[in-house]
């Protein structure tokens, strides 16, 4: 599988932006500059970015609570996204959504979701619109491994399969549902096995390998566009940080984390770019630097952005 050079370089930039974004968010939380809570996807950048970049124009994505990498992969205005995390008036949601609700319906980003498993049925509905209006577009529905134990998972996959809806159920299996390891929450190793009971393909990809993620999603999207119905894709990956900002991570070992950090998806793509002669080490460094600077600029923009006026409190409850 090859990815076009320009796409690959843009992918590398967005993965670095995602990493830098979340490092900055961590930094901001530690200093009390960002409040509430947030769920970081550091270590899962290939899974979030390459999957969204495999989509076509007009395709939709519904993101999970751990959705920063996916949002950046889908394509966002970094300034507006950071401003939303800082609760500012010019954030994506005018400061009313925060980290768990980054959305841009117009561009096809149907929103991150604070309810684990909440995106399954929403995605089924969005896919129904694509089928009904014959748009030829697909919906990429993100969730974590834990969400597949929710009842809505079953109802949604069943309905999508009988109606042959163009939706990819993209399960990022990072091995832990908060603290609960997968072996204690389901009696199978591969979530992709669950697809069989809905008569849909269940595919596994290496979530830390941009090429595998990209190819798998493109093939799944083709399956959907051909009118063959939904696909379940399980992306095996790992989050380096805790579930949320208040996680002592007593449930896993430093050895395990180190093992996965050695599979750093950004480092893997960086090495590929250099080894294949696509870019020199210096040129790749320049991309890294640009990504960090983009995020510094976004934070600067957000920090200097206005707070929402209290007069906006009651706006947008009803259309």
């Amino acid at each position: 599988m090859s990815i076009e050079r320009e796409t690959l370089l843009e992918m590398y930039l967005r993965m670095n932006q995602a990493r830098a974004f979340e490092e900055k968010v961590k930094w901001g939380f530690a200093r009390g500059m960002i409040h509430g809570t947030t769920h970081l996807s550091i270590g899962q950048e290939a899974s979030g970015v390459a999957s969204c970049m495999a989509l076509d124009k007009g395709d939709k994505a519904s993101l999970s609570h751990r959705g920063h990498s996916a949002a950046i992969g889908f394509g966002v205005d970094l300034n507006k996204m950071m401003a939303e995390l800082l609760g500012r008036a010019n954030g994506y949601c005018k400061g009313k959504g925060g980290s768990m609700h980054i959305a841009d319906i117009e561009s096809g980003n149907l929103g991150a979701n604070g309810i684990v498993g909440g995106g399954f049925s929403i995605s089924v509905g969005a896919a129904l619109t694509q089928q009904y209006q014959e748009t030829g577009n697909v919906v990429l529905c993100f969730s974590g491994d834990g969400a597949t134990n929710e009842g809505s998972f079953h109802e949604s996959l069943n309905l999508a399969s009988i109606w042959k809806l163009p939706v990819i159920f993209y399960i990022e299996n990072n091995l832990y549902a908060m603290s609960n390891p997968i072996e204690k929450s389901m009696n199978i190793t591969d979530i992709a096995d669950r697809a069989a009971s809905y008569g849909m393909p269940g595919v596994i990809c290496d979530g830390n390998d941009v090429f595998d993620v990209y190819q798998t999603i493109q093939e799944a999207a083709k399956h959907c566009r051909d009118g063959k119905g939904p696909v379940l894709v399980e992306s095996k990956t790992y989050r380096w940080d805790g579930h949320s900002k208040s996680d002592a991570q007593a449930y896993r070992t430093m050895e395990e984390r180190k093992e996965w950090m050695a599979k750093d998806p950004i480092l893997r793509l960086r090495n590929h770019l250099i080894e294949e002669g696509i870019k020199t080490a210096e040129e790749v460094d320049a991309i890294d630097t640009k990504a960090k600077q983009d995020i510094e600029d976004a934070f600067e923009f957000a920090w200097n952005s206005p707070e929402p006026d209290v007069s906006t409190l009651m706006e947008d409850v009803y259309a």
Partner: protein, 329 residues
Amino acid sequence: MKTMTYAEAIRAAMSEEMRRDENVMFMGEDVGLYGGAFGISVGMLDEFGPKRVKDTPISEAVIAGAAAGAAATGLRPIMEIMFSDFFTISMDALVNQAAKMRYMFGGKAQVPMVCRTPGGSGTGAAAQHSQSLEAWFCHVPGIKVVTPSTPADAYGLLKASIRDNNPIVFIEQKLLYRTSGEVPVDQDDFIIPLGLADVKREGTDVTIVTYGRMVQRALEAAEIAAEKGISVEVVDPRTLQPLDKDTIIKSVEKTGKLIVVVEAAQTGSYAGEIIASVTESDAFDFLDAPVQRLCGKDVPIPYNPTLEAAVVPQVDEIVAAIEKAVNRG
């Protein structure tokens, strides 16, 4: 004008809106060939085909979630939940997703979906098929709640609901489905705006505020009271969210007495909200008797017909409340 049942009026409203707007579609359990558990959609599959009238599996969570997702991306789905009790299974999609999407996404989403569902007791269906849960939905900002009491109201309010750009819970009454009335189907675009109460009977001595199937009982009680020389005004808010407080307040300012009658279990029912909106208004100064509420008893709905009937307010109880209010004043 055409005489039709409440059920036929609902079917007429859905069908007309589906003819008018290609993006309106209808889905639910057994709504196609079967025509819905209460026969509301009989014939609609024939007219609109399986693309627009969709049978779903028994999956209330995804019915509601799919409606929300479809609505947010350009369709205008009508969904049916066979009994309003089954909304417990749909609540995440309705409460956490559909109701909040617009606000939490900074006003950039709109979710035009109508959740039709029958509520209320009186059919011998017992505790899990008979509840009146409208107050739950009213408690969630972002949802509108509609409770029609006549065929004409059901028709005009459903058309308005389908054209509205918000998630709407449209609570029908099982015991009203076969009641008949005049419906202005031949009037081009007969729409009843949401948030507009209707004075079902004018009067000067006592105000009764009620909705759904209790409207008929209140009117019967008002008739009996009239024979005793008491003039009762019956106000039907028709939509609970938004609530037409002005019409209610104006009526109480005229009569000075307020009785609220609802079928739902008393504790936490919408009767409390209606009363509060009066007592915190200027109408408080016009009250010359304690406000009364007649509600369902705080029990699960029982199976035995005598027990079941005893749960909800009776006509003679409403008459007694009217007399009590008048004698106090």
